[in-house]
């Protein structure tokens, strides 16, 4: 009899498995036809902002909706913010793509950096934004009005928010007499003391270094690399690996390594410099004379945003000079609205100049902002290495 039970169980389990597979296949087929049908609409966003829906769901870098300024927004508009802090660009992309993509009908806005934004646009996870509904937009520093990382073919997918450089940081008690150039991160003298981000976009930092140190490679833009330039960059990074102590996944990990003395120099963000100096760790931040790569963040509107009006109200609110200044000083970054300058100085004297908000436009030529690498990089020959190639190379470098 027990043999018969066994048979029943085995056949039962097997037939259930078949049913499950059939359902899975059916579901896949279904999503196929759906995605092929939804690529035809191209509008430039909604025409007006209706009344708020009472809720706003954000995927954000920590503190990007800090209560210091978000409370006032909630009181003014009645849009109550539900926030999900993300630790990396990749986490943001995964969150946006969960639940069928487009924010899964759960998320309204994501504060994507330039290395994530094109991926979200090309992946069809975003919807166009009508920037005419954001009054402060026309006051933005020109390069942040329609930057390549959030505007494609003249269609905006969000509004620029803040930016910051990737800086060279070192411990003044360990690195003497100090460093001032990116070459330090490739210098065998500092073997076992270096940390850099664990992010494929870091390849651009090496390309940026080669752009200045090896002009014969002809690199014009560190995100647009042909095979030869890309291979040279990857080789440089493979050499750098021997010197690297830690590829940090979250900036807080890099920060901890600096604080605990495990690393003495590396590439990190200004927010970490501020946090370390706050804890009395002897560190100094440098933006080398050649310039730096940088990130620029955008509030981007999810394709399936359930509360679009609250989302527009939020983009409107965070682009006003006062909020721009508040956020910049909370996070340690630079506003895209130059009118924030006076408000920054009001909160913290001299901070406008410290964060380079008063620089002339030519200053931005030295900062190469993150953007997702794509094959069609504008040179007409379609021969640039795309993000998949960057990711594969990065696995090879760090693996």
């Amino acid at each position: 009899m027990s043999k018969r039970f066994k048979h029943v169980l085995v056949y039962g389990a097997a037939s259930l498995l078949v049913v499950v597979l059939a359902f899975a296949a059916a579901a896949c087929g279904g999503s196929d036809s759906e995605s092929s049908g939804s690529t035809t609409t191209t509008t430039s966003g909604q025409a007006s902002i209706g009344p708020g829906e009472g809720k706003l769901n954000l995927i954000e870098w920590p503190y990007y909706s800090d209560p210091a300024f978000a409370k006032k927004f909630e009181n003014q508009t009645g849009c109550i913010i539900h926030r999900k802090d993300a630790g990396s660009s990749n986490e943001m992309v995964s969150l946006m793509r969960a639940g069928g993509g487009g924010g899964g009908g759960q998320w309204d806005l994501v504060s994507a950096s330039g290395d994530a934004s094109l991926r979200l646009i090309k992946g069809g996870d975003l919807q166009p934004v009508n920037v005419n509904l954001i009054p402060e937009w026309k006051n933005f520093i020109p390069i942040f009005k329609s930057p390549a990382h959030n505007t494609v073919d003249g269609v905006h997918y969000g509004t620029s928010l803040q930016w910051g450089p990737n800086v060279l940081l070192y411990r003044t008690d360990k690195v003497k007499p100090g460093v001032s150039e990116w070459s330090a991160l490739y210098d065998p003298k500092y073997k076992g003391q270096i940390t850099v981000p664990n992010n494929p976009i870091q390849i651009a930092d090496a390309a940026f270094y080669l752009m200045h140190s090896k002009p014969e490679l002809g690199i014009k833009d560190p995100y647009e690399l042909n095979k030869e330039q890309f291979d040279a960059t990857v080789n440089l990074l493979k050499d750098q690996k021997k010197l690297v102590k830690l590829y940090w996944n979250y900036d807080t990990d890099g920060r901890a390594a600096f604080a605990n003395g495990d690393v003495s120099l590396g590439a990190i963000w200004p927010v970490d410099t501020l946090a370390l100096q706050d804890k009395k760790v002897p560190v100094k931040e440098v933006i080398p004379a050649d310039g730096a790569t940088g990130w620029a963040d955008t509030w981007m509107l999810a394709k399936k945003a359930p509360h679009p009006n609250c989302a527009y109200l939020w983009m409107k609110y965070v682009s006003t000079p006062q909020v721009q200044a508040q956020q910049a000083l909370i996070f340690g970054e630079t506003p895209v609205n130059p009118k924030a300058c006076t408000f920054m100085d009001k909160i913290q004297a001299g901070s406008c100049a410290k964060y380079h908000l008063n620089e002339p436009l030519s200053y931005y030529d030295t900062i190469k902002f993150w953007k997702t690498p794509i094959a069609d990089c504008g040179n007409g020959s379609n021969d640039c290495m795309d993000y998949n190639a960057w990711q594969k190379a990065w696995t090879e470098i760090t693996g």
């Binding site: 090309k122 069809g124 830690l246 990711q391």
Partner: protein, 303 residues
């Protein structure tokens, strides 16, 4: 009373007939009992494994980053031909094996003491101590280890106090080995304890009566009988290490990627789920082989 009896009798009759019906068809009883767990098993366990396996044959459109549902072996051939994946797979399996051996060596004397030598009071205390780390989050304990191993951390502080140089363990594969061995140790101690406790005292006495010395008794009586427990424990330590990605990310260094990290990166960074799925089938295969061998060694009798 009479009313209750009257109201109860048809109900009782129904119950009796149901139970008679089931008694005559015992397979129905078993089916009803197991329907829910079997359904959960099929959908949750086998379903997700099947989805993993199926998606490993798909590919990703490099322009939009979307998954293309067409069948190919491209992912598997990438994994086989690109040496970096072999290196990562080898590193993962090698460290999982090292952790398993380390835990077996650490757990055996402790489990032996607990099972055969300790007084009931000491045994209870040791149980609490072995299980105590499980009360706090695994993540918290990894962060604690990072503080211990850091250059300006507790370990180097103690070494310097003894006049010794820095250990320089932070962000290395050695650090990963230490942390893994620490976090999975309880999962080795418990099955080994269970196996050792079941060895009857009379076997040991018989062995001694027949002239075997301590070492011989250990080698020919205790160890073979404890082996199923060791193998059962090793299933835990090996599989838990094999599938981990948090420890390598937090205490590993520049040369410490695991299969799990690559999977995590491919899903998270480039949204290349198919390649990630293909790589993730490797631990499944390794574990399947491991479990077959473990079954031969009688591990499942000690669980």
């Amino acid at each position: 009373m009479a009313e209750i009896a009257e109201a109860g009798s048809p109900l009782r009759g129904a119950r009796l007939s149901i139970s008679a019906f089931l008694w005559q068809r015992p397979w129905l009883k078993v089916a009803a009992l197991l329907a829910l767990p079997v359904l959960a098993f099929a959908v949750v366990y086998l379903g997700s494994l099947a989805a993993l396996f199926v998606s490993s044959f798909w590919s990703v459109d490099s322009f939009t980053g979307k998954v293309v549902h067409s069948w190919s072996f491209g992912n598997f051939s990438t994994l086989i031909h690109d040496p970096i994946y072999r290196k990562i797979a080898f590193r993962t399996i090698w460290i999982a094996a090292a952790v398993t051996v380390t835990d077996a060596i650490l757990a055996f004397p402790l489990a032996y003491f607990m099972a055969r030598l300790a007084t009931p009071r000491t045994r209870a205390l040791l149980f609490v101590l072995v299980l105590l780390p499980l009360w706090s989050s695994y993540l918290v304990r990894i962060y604690a280890w990072r503080l211990i191993l850091a250059k300006q951390g507790a370990l180097n502080w103690a070494l310097n106090g003894l006049g010794l140089p820095d250990a320089n363990l932070a962000y290395t594969n050695t650090a990963m080995w230490i942390v893994f061995s620490y976090v999975w140790l309880p999962f080795m101690v418990l099955p080994v304890y269970a196996a050792l406790e079941r060895i009857p005292q009379s076997y040991l006495e018989a062995s001694q009566d027949l002239g075997a010395r301590t070492w011989r008794t250990f080698r020919t009586v205790i160890l073979p009988l404890a082996l199923p427990g060791l193998v059962a424990g090793s299933i835990f330590t090996f599989s838990l290490t094999l599938g981990d990605f948090i420890t390598p990310a937090l205490v590993g260094g520049a040369d410490s990627q695991f299969i799990g990290n690559v999977v995590h990166n491919y899903v998270g960074i480039s949204n290349n789920v198919p390649l990630a799925a293909a790589f993730a089938t490797l631990p499944v295969i390794v574990m399947a082989v491991y479990l077959v061998v473990a079954k031969r060694l009688g591990a499942f009798e000690a669980l």
